[in-house]
Amino acid sequence: MTKVIEIQGIGKKYPGVVANDNVNIDIEGGSIHAIIGENGAGKSTLMKILFGLVKPDSGSIRVRGEELNLKSPQDAIAQGIGMVHQHFMLADNASVLENVILGSEPTGALGKIKYGDARTKLVEISKRYGLELDPDQLVASLGVGERQRVEIAKVLFRGAQILILDEPTAVLVPQEVDELFTNLKGLTANGLTIIFISHKLDEVLEIADGITVMRRGTTVANLLPRETTKKELAEYMIGGALPEPNPGETTRGIDKVLRVEKVNFTDPDGRKVINNLSLEMFSGEIVGLAGVEGNGQSELIELIMGLVKADSGELEIVGLNAHDVTTREIRDAGVGYIPQDRHRDGLLLGATLWENRVLGHQGTEPMAQGLWVNKSAAQSDSERIVTEFDVRTPSINVAAHALSGGNQQKFIVGREMAGSPKVIIAAQPTRGVDVGAQAIIWNRLIEARKAGAAVLLISADLDEIFKLSDRIAVIFRGEITNYLDPKSATPETLGMAMTGEKIA
């Protein structure tokens, strides 16, 4: 096979930060090439360069032997490069056909849209690649997997020969992942080339024909899936042996700090997302909550934190009835909360780090002193977090938005673990942080557990769940369907449980 894309020596610097440095990748035509790496490894910068959103400082990209010089995404599309973003950009109230042609409508005389031509073309694309799209269906009525296929159709409609898929499986349930993979194989069988960005190693090993690993902005290895292992990939990704947290024997106590009993919750769209859910947590244990994204994890967290109220059922946290108290009271009673979306829920991006230290703790000492904010306490404790959690920042007086995502996350974790909380709700606590910081955060969670805290660990990283949890609770369609013992369960049984199968 011939090389369709040759990336040589690509480099890109942002003020003070090297985002890409000497990136080299060769991709063969008609193949699925995976690019893996931790968040912040430079994958997205590289993709932006490939798609014409960012201009590289150095290096060259050759497509089918020709030097590529992109000024904008329009250039990239003209060169047959298409991108399917992780977050869909579809108009809900328009049909599949309308969404597909939006922005590149085939027009006739007087700018009249040629719907007939467009429809023929879409139907043909859909048939050839097995996308199974109905041009007239309203996008609002489509599921996540179908929406993704609409996005793919959009790109194909514009004549893409090279598809970049940015973490396409992040939003899919396992069956949908299988369907997607079938579709992708159909695309490559027809000669298209796919660049598949991911950090899920199992999937990459399953689907890819070639794998490139990135770390700290540069490509560290080009591998073939049949010649490598998950462990090897992981070690390339993190640049060393995987840290092994050592939780030791369980320290589970007898105080019931969280009791969720037959709780139901319907979201504003009328979907019943929490379904008769029951869950208990005791002091001194880490409960791993495993589940495919979108099975009620976020809503359960919001219910526990008192951010939304249940339709029915009982929810008691640190002795408070969550129905009757505010989030403030729950937090003040000693509940730490590491939200999964740090930018939207965890930080005041425009405020300084020390002000962010106060956030969530402004109801109790030492951050508050009566009616007043205790600035010196906030500053000195921020300094402590910066040191203990290795937050890379010139000072605690810079605004939070100036920090990289991983450093923001470290700061949030440090803040939420301050003041020895009784319960810690940790949603994706190590998402986007480097391996060193991951080890720090893991050890801190284990220490907190030893000190008697109950930790609810919600994570998409099953390794993390296995390594830290005393018990694993599996959530499926708003219900806890299984409890597994991480010592005896295998990833396979957990995977089955996550798709709704009952494991004895």
């Binding site: 942002y14 003020p15 003070g16 930060v17 934190m305 951010l307 505010t326 989030t327 403030r328 009271e329 729950i330 937090r331 003040d332 909360y337 939200p339 939207r344 829920d345 965890g346 930080l347 005041l348 991006l349 425009g350 405020a351 002000e355 106060v358 956030l359 969530g360 402004q362 109801g363 508050a368 009616l371 007043w372 904010v373 290795d390 890379r392 920042t393 010139p394 000072s395 007086n397 810079v398 605004a399 938005h401 100036a402 920090l403 990289s404 450093n407």
Partner: protein, 361 residues
Amino acid sequence: MTQKKWFWGLMAPLASIVFSVAITSIILLIKGASPFGTFQVLWQFGSQGSNLVTEINQTVAYYLAGVAAAIGFKMLLFNIGIDGQYRLAVFFSAVVGAQIHLPPVLHVLVIMVTAVVVGALWASIAGYLKVKRNISEVISNIMLNTIASGIITFLLQPTRLGYNLKNSNNSQTPPIDKSGWLPSFNIAGSHLYSYIFVAILVGVLYWVLLNKSVFGFNLRATGMSFRAARASGINAPRMIFITMAISGGVAGLTGVGEMLGNTHDYSLSFPTGYALTGLALALIGRSSPIGIALAAFFWSFLEGAAPALDLYGVPTEIVIVMQAIIIISTVVSYELVKRINQLQQQKLVGQAAVEVKEEVK
């Protein structure tokens, strides 16, 4: 770095004044007038003792409107209802002030409290609609301004709460007893209202509450990120409601100085337009209590000096042109300064990250 921050904070407004003077000069030159002469006339007339006193009294009113707007800004609220809030507040406090008879200090206090309460209540209608019905406070406030005008016109009829002076068709509220007046200082033949101390107090309270108190922290946090505030345990919708009410309360104080110090009643001669001026001043003063004060004084100075231009043969509207250019160029220069700061911070953070990396090596 803090010094730099100060430097840039001052540079932005200064640059926009220079820019505005330059543009205005060009316009004057096109009109065939001497820019230098024009600014000289403005300066000479504006800085005359008695004019200066009038300007300071006006500064006080503008300042309060500016602080009211700034409180809203902290919550990303655009309180364009300051007009309605302030006029209803002066009107009702004048009515109450005329009805009651109390010892001096108490009388004044009751009038001021009435103004604050009326302003806050009126603003909280917009706050309620925003929080409960998700209606933009801009739309509801514009409507509320009109409704306030209607209410005042209706109630100011001689058969209702107002009356007409002999030989006059100008409706007004009955006069307030002397016990409900605020003393003035006689300076250069003009009266400087002692209400200026109220404005200073409001400025100090604004700064202290916003920057030092937990309440102020909650307010700013909600303004910066509704979701992060909510996740941190702040009742964010309630915070929005309260902020709107406080903004309205301060707006309620805007016209009270003129009434307590000078007119001692409410009539239709109380001006409109404080909302837009207040918003502009909060913008130029960057919502800082000192900044708003400087901007308010500058504004009043220009307006106080403008009448002299007629005598000099230059249209007084040139002052409005100047003000408009200042507003626009301040917005631009603040944005520039903000971006420069952001870049510098990111650089620093980047350097810190690199340094750490090298240490590790």
